[in-house]
Symmetry: C3
Subunit: 371 residues, 3 copies
Amino acid sequence: MKKTATLLAVWAVAGTAAAQSSVTLFGVVDATLQHISNAGGASVSRLTNSGFSNSRLGFRGVEDLGGGLSASFWLEAGLNNDDGTGLATNSNNQASGAAPAAAGGQGLTFNRRSTVSLAGPWGEVRLGRDYTPQFWNLTIFDPYGNVGVGATLTFGSIVTGAPFTAARASNSIGYLLPGNLGGFYGQVMHYRGENASNAAGGTASDGTGTGARFGYASGPVNVALALGRTQRAGALGDIRQANIGAQWDLGVARLMGQVTSDKGSASAVAGGPALAADGHGWLLGALVPVGAGEVRVSYSQYRQEFAAADNRARKLALGYVHHLSKRTAVYTTYARLNNRGGAFATVTQGAGSPAANGSSSGFDVGLRHSF
Amino acid sequence: MKKTATLLAVWAVAGTAAAQSSVTLFGVVDATLQHISNAGGASVSRLTNSGFSNSRLGFRGVEDLGGGLSASFWLEAGLNNDDGTGLATNSNNQASGAAPAAAGGQGLTFNRRSTVSLAGPWGEVRLGRDYTPQFWNLTIFDPYGNVGVGATLTFGSIVTGAPFTAARASNSIGYLLPGNLGGFYGQVMHYRGENASNAAGGTASDGTGTGARFGYASGPVNVALALGRTQRAGALGDIRQANIGAQWDLGVARLMGQVTSDKGSASAVAGGPALAADGHGWLLGALVPVGAGEVRVSYSQYRQEFAAADNRARKLALGYVHHLSKRTAVYTTYARLNNRGGAFATVTQGAGSPAANGSSSGFDVGLRHSF
Amino acid sequence: MKKTATLLAVWAVAGTAAAQSSVTLFGVVDATLQHISNAGGASVSRLTNSGFSNSRLGFRGVEDLGGGLSASFWLEAGLNNDDGTGLATNSNNQASGAAPAAAGGQGLTFNRRSTVSLAGPWGEVRLGRDYTPQFWNLTIFDPYGNVGVGATLTFGSIVTGAPFTAARASNSIGYLLPGNLGGFYGQVMHYRGENASNAAGGTASDGTGTGARFGYASGPVNVALALGRTQRAGALGDIRQANIGAQWDLGVARLMGQVTSDKGSASAVAGGPALAADGHGWLLGALVPVGAGEVRVSYSQYRQEFAAADNRARKLALGYVHHLSKRTAVYTTYARLNNRGGAFATVTQGAGSPAANGSSSGFDVGLRHSF
């Protein structure tokens, strides 16, 4: 995402002069041959997408307003490039807003990000659909960036497959600190479920929530803390989340780790299940540069405290990425996941689940091209 | 929309020389904090879109064919940038062609405009999905351009919320007069419902219609008349529309007004309700330049003649737009609407309706960025 | 498609230097006035799309990796520009993966092609959704390129309207020979249905298939052979396809022909009907240059061997295309189709079917603009 095509653009101001500006068209097309095997369940061999980076197509631009002010927009759509479909978004941060179109009919939505911003020396105000603050630590401090068969378990998908931590929220207003605070960074975000005030069953506030994240990055160190809360009606109760992540770059390897704690861990934002069990997770990982490539190792766990059983899944992932250029890479990954206490998590979605306490493994070989 | 990024393009003609041409990527991302309150109904606070300009993403281009001829295309998709969804279109100018995808699954369609044209000194022939001629006066002569909480009532949505005048029609062929007629301008358009000739219930012609608009613009004056008719089967009867709008630019203010009359006013084009009551509306408004900004005032009414009652709604809207640049603006609007005779119109959609004869009010603060 | 806008792009490599690359935005907007008449059935007059070229919008690019290697991507969406909708894709090469969104809600999907490739002196490996090898001969050796009322009958849609030969497959891995083999060309492709290994009713392999095509083009001659097989469960049995096509350019005319044979001819890929009748088809045609235009003639047949009857349809098509430029053309076509043995094929879809053994005719006048 750091490298994108900046289209040279000339602004044709109606009838008068022309000013310079830029609109950027960018994207990722990542395809992978993948084999998934679930003990006591199914296996599948497939050509799928997003094994190393999530496939996407986007448009963005920045306008300099003078006086240190700027306006910008960012529209980014997820892409299933194995079959040409887009991905659904969630219109209200509740299960009711997440319904996708039919199997072959899901068009492009800007589900990944859809924002307009005003920025100045004081920071940035950002409006629209964006990543939640509580999402970032789980992703940035995962050697697999929460993508592919090696993705961290700390998002909490150990029973149903639906992640407990929502990556994004719609109808949000966010504030981000400016970039010149000597390594300190941070953001807060409030998002609305937008139910009517007289909604049935006390659900007027469902899907409304707030998150915050603060961190420090300097030299080889990067560490950050995030908190989030999303409202839900009735017996389910609100979802509260806290996580911390850190990274130390030793030169020969980048070590990273994260710890997460979820209260009432079933996401109202992503339309998760009606569960109210608390959950806890952690990850340890490393990225080891090897010539033009990189070895990726991670070990993660998620545990969910149901009344009847103490579900737990652990995953080990080992992978290698070979960079053909800054934009193009070939990669391979092997991951193996063990379930205990009745859990039936899978290494990735799309081939059902293993039997309770069964293992799940995944292997992929893929090609990632960005533009 | 007058200012758009013209992408410099080089035509790579297969194996031979290269010619110059241009494709334009353009759009609007408008986000707004909005509070809606409906007396006897619900209220809602939300981060929504399109408070000042309708959000959109589009592609267009023109090719010079020589001899005064040119070919062009225009593909423009509506955008809900608060959640990343697109908007549905209407495939047959009837209710059956307007069904959207599921809540989170509505992808981008070129619902706003999707045309290909051939133009010459004799004018322009335009094919595809385009604005109806009967739409323009209601929009151009509204200080709010039919957008946001201040939008004119003359589209007729005082009972059900579905506008009686369809902004656009699919499957159309249009002709537009050339631009050099000493201030006179005009267009005609024919659109097809495309039902089979043996369609049940005499509905073969449903959704087929014709519209025309003629006007004169010179110096401070702009005035135009439009007529439209859309066919419907059986007891409902055809929809016939006539409207006139005018504008006088005094320098210190641009005054504008419009009057509209609808027969059998329930839109077959937008998939409106099965009502056959005639309706009448008017608007008076002004745009007052203030430094780098503009004050916007409008007062509009729509009345519908049901047998049982004479529904009527009136709306007052007051707003201010501050231009940070030609492309970027911040704005705020307050609008209040009163219902009488059983009407239950709302100031904008998304928070239900007030009780019959209840009032509705809306307030927004937003950011509009175009590219 | 040979002429597309190459957007000049500068790569903003994070914090360092900038390299040159290119992303291409391309498309076709084709609109046509069309009248279809089905004997014993319906007729319809409409403004539709894709009478000469299939309307589309796409993005593609190539990156030179050095050493003769390159990476590339191609994302191409079908477009119904008469109403602004997109087209559905097929996510699993089975009927279950082809469901479109609702009537007005079908957004853009990259149903036409969605691939990422790695190419070198040894050829190209291509991953994603792409044309099947068995599709090409039926299209390239048809004067109408399988588009519009004149399209060849050899795709086999003589009973239900659903083509037996699927143009494309999702979840595919393909290999294409390099271009320097003295006129010889070829490709193989394997595609996955991606059902789970424990799918009900022995359907684990449904939608999985393989195709291959080899040909020779030199001077005025082009000839190619293709084979394909798509798996289906149970009584339906696999679909096996073989076809051959050839073209001879005499200068005054380009003559072309094709023969196709389908076993168990009901497409699992496009979600065709549950029929298992073998089918056979052929086409003879010519393209005759006339000044800045071209006359197009074709005569095609498809016959399907049901137990009860020997269905057969024949179509004659005559058309003219006038090129206003390399990108823009106006065209007209007349086609007439006769059914026998109980067949009720139609000249094109969208106006129902004729009665069994009834004729079908179509006429269009249109404008095609590419960019």
